[in-house]
């Protein structure tokens, strides 16, 4: 029995080490590959406005932020006649509907007739259903999504127009970045997760042809969306799912991350909301894995990467259980030396992840004209293990929900913590 336990510890250690090393590499991919880094940037020269855009803004209980968001999308640096804005809500969300309608009326009065409200009353009440409800009203060449709390860059349409026209791609994922890195102890880690995901990892996944797309600032050619039948309304991470379906069709996905033009967002306001959001993502990945879209990818390498990405929440749940075991094995249990040393490797890799996060903090703040302080690093050092445990808890929670057949949508609240007075002013000037 003891031998079986030790063999299991050794095997899990080895697998986690390989997995952690690979994730680490994906985190630093664009920094490691100068060519990828260059490709990730926004082209300096812009094409003239050629494509038309439908911006779908799905909103649920977003009374606080919806008006600003509509204003922002309406005031981008792109010809208004080429932009269609659709705010989509479920019929029961009267508060958001009321605020959105008020803003639309105001814009109409100012001569802007390109904003409309779509209300759906059928089930399920979730984001992919809202997106599909809006899609049938789209008339543009390109369809994009902005979440209600998004702070988009005024040049975003111009940038995507340039990329789509010059590179002849039909799917573009532009950068999304959480900004409030000092709001609370976990916000730094959450911000950095986004930073590494959009700044590095997605570029690798796009190149490999197996990319789970982000939930917003994603641009699709409308005919492509229609051909694949829109979003999967039963999936909690419809964005990841549609990304893999697009890849399965052989479409090349272009990822662009340039800190000057990212869409800015906020971290969930409370730990409970954060755990709910993370649970949803983890369960969504589990659902997508079970659904098997990844099996339709053309090459073995693509299938492997997709499977590996979607299975990550399982590894995260395992990691939560494993960490105490590793520490115990190394310092308390009298395991044979090779097993104890092997069990230490994932811990070592975890330390490497932490180092990477700290460097990421400095890269992130430097890129956005902010300043990282030693205090933040100390908070990170203290919060690092708890954060891992929170992620592991969310993954285990997702696993429990998945096994229990619970698949409802736990929505994230938004309070607009990323919207600073200064940023508003800049945007107003740009508009």
């Amino acid at each position: 029995m003891e031998h079986i336990l030790l063999a299991a510890i050794a095997l899990v250690s080895l697998m986690l080490t390989i997995q952690a090393a690979h994730v680490l590499y994906l985190m630093i991919y664009t920094w490691d590959q100068p060519a990828a880094d260059t490709l990730a940037r926004v082209p300096d020269v812009r094409a003239g406005p050629q494509l038309s855009f439908t911006a779908i803004v799905p909103a649920r209980h977003e009374e606080e932020v919806i008006q600003q968001t509509i204003d922002r999308v309406a005031r981008t640096d792109y010809p208004a006649r080429l932009v269609q804005i659709i705010v989509v809500c479920s019929a029961d969300d009267t508060g958001t509907i009321e605020r959105a309608a008020a803003t639309i009326s105001r814009l109409n009065a100012a001569g802007r007739d390109n904003v409309q409200l779509v209300v759906f009353s059928d089930e399920p009440i979730n984001k992919p259903h809202g997106l599909n409800a809006a899609l049938v009203h789209s008339q543009a060449d390109v369809v994009t999504i902005f979440d209600a709390e998004d702070e988009i860059h005024p040049e975003i349409f111009s940038i995507v127009n340039t990329i789509m026209v010059t590179e002849r791609v039909h799917v573009v994922q532009a950068g999304v970045q959480l900004m409030n890195y000092e709001s609370n102890w976990y916000s730094t880690f959450n911000v950095l997760e986004y930073f590494f995901w959009f700044r590095s990892r997605l570029h690798y996944q796009a190149k490999a042809g197996a990319i789970p797309l982000g939930g917003n600032t994603i641009f699709f050619a409308r005919d492509l969306l229609e051909r694949i039948g829109g979003w999967d309304e039963k999936c909690l991470t419809e964005d990841a799912d549609i990304g893999l379906r697009v890849c399965a069709m052989g479409e090349r996905v272009r990822v662009v991350y340039d800190h000057r033009y990212v869409t800015k967002e906020e971290t969930p306001p409370t730990l409970t909301h954060f755990i709910k959001q993370r649970t949803r993502w983890s369960q969504g990945f589990m659902q997508t894995l079970k659904k098997g879209t990844w099996k339709e990818l053309p090459t073995r390498k693509q299938r492997w990467l997709a499977w590996y990405t979607l299975a990550f929440p399982y590894a995260q749940a395992l990691l939560g259980l494993y960490l105490p075991v590793a520490v115990l094995t190394a310092f308390v249990l009298r395991a044979p030396v090779p097993v104890a040393l092997l069990s230490w490797l994932p811990v070592l890799l975890l330390a490497a992840h932490f180092v990477t996060q700290v460097i990421g903090l400095y890269e992130f703040t430097e890129a956005h004209g902010l300043r990282a302080t030693p205090r933040t690093v100390i908070v990170m050092a203290v919060g690092w293990m708890p954060y891992q445990m929170v992620l592991a808890y969310a993954a285990m929670r997702a696993l429990k929900r998945q096994l229990g057949g619970v698949g409802d949508w736990e929505k994230t609240a938004h309070v607009g913590a990323h919207r600073t007075a200064e940023a508003e002013e800049v945007t107003s000037r740009a508009a």
């Binding site: 880094d37 082209p43 230490w344 070592l348 400095y362």
Partner: protein
Amino acid sequence: MPRERETILLEQDPVPRPPPAAASESEEGRLGRLGVSLLVFSIVTGLVTHGWNLFKYPLYLSDEGIYMQQAWSVLRHGKLSPYTYFYDHAPLGWLTIAGWVAVIPGQFNSFGFPVNVGRALMVLVHAGCVFLLFEVVRRYSGSRAAATLAAFLFNVSPLAVYFQRMVLLDNLMVFWVLVGLYILARKDGRIVTAMGAGLAFGFALITKENAAFLLPGFGYLLHRSIVDNSNRRFSASFWWFAAGAPVSLYMLYAQIKNELLPANLDFNLASPPADHVSLLYTIWWQLNRTASGGQGTMFSTLLHDSWMWKDKYILITGTAATIANLVLSLNARRREVPMLGVGLLAIGYGFYLTRSVLLDFYVAPLVPLLALNIGLCYGRITRYGKPIAVALLTAIVCALPLSQPHGYLVAWDSTGTRLLLADQYRLPQTNMQNLQVKWIRENIPPDARLIIDDDIWVALREGTPKYPNAQSHFKAASDPDVRDKIFHQDWHNVDYVVMSNKMRDALQRNNEGWIMEAIDQHGEQVWRIDRGDVHLEIIKINNTG
């Protein structure tokens, strides 16, 4: 919604082009067909100079025996040492040797005397080092001639041949250091490159800790190679992390065995821990050893009596080249980064040699570092020369030491009248140790209790018959498990003492009093061989009366 027809599409490539590759190397800097030929020539030369007469010269050293013995323990008992492992050195070196022996079909008996298996590995490691040295010099200097010269000196220097044939941790450490430099010299701006260099340096550290003295040079080369890159934060951090990872595993090993800290955190050097060993205590003890104590010798003594005598040319030329590199690079740091870097490497190791308690073979890592300096200095001097002139000059510089009767290739005989091949290619010194073991097998019963030197330790454990009761004299005098539990410091418990060359000096130096007493008061010489200044003996202890 209509498309905007009247806009003008900017003329651009459909797919963005990747950024231009790093500036291509100059014609001279590229390896090319000529470079490959020179590289192959260098490696073959190294295999010949280091491999010829390998198993016969020099005499098997006690330290070679110790590392073979510890590799034997890894393979046969799954332990890092057959005796109490007290963290005198980190284990990667003999783990490597154990790995090598494990894949050789005949294992320890593949090439006759067991130490030979280790020596065969050393020759392969040397060939690897030649490749790395050649490429490091070529990449840093852009000169194939300089690379050839450096590799040539590294191959033929009698100092290098003498010590790099030996199964020493220093030689394996040098290999990892050169791997690290080779990776750094790629200059491709990637993080994994810096990480690979760091990992190699970490391996060097847990092969032999004196690699730490190369940190200033290594660190400078790393810094200069990444300072202008946008990913420098990642590169620097991952270098440190990768270098630290193997070291942390070593520390963890000690912790798992509960041997990291001394009992009661007592670092008092006057009272070594008696009950259990400690990694940190050993490090503290080694840091505080002075040249006047211990079993080592002073730098100046070894320099004059051994190293200069073996090869003064490379020591003098290498030192001069190091100084020249420092002077030239300090005037133009930006342009001459590698020269300053390799200069710092040699200075760092030189500092270690002058400050530390020394053994003769500690000089081994200095030779490739001096060769590096000579190569880069030569590359700088000949940078603007015509290729044909440089080639000719290089050939002459290489031929010069070979034609001199001072030990590179030929040497005068003892009468000073006849030129002979140099000792390293001719003398069969180890035959004496083979004869000693042969005599033991033919005349001493396998259950006899022997005190021996480490050079023949594995030979007596692996051959036929085996001598399971043969113990190292160092351990018989200092390891409580052997001294007090097997021999009880009593000559009655010893049947034979097998004396290696100069073992008596070691017995005196280490105060191995009870063994001396056994030899001098109760011993009887039963076998002896003398050749030149090498003397081997076997003493029978009359413990029955």
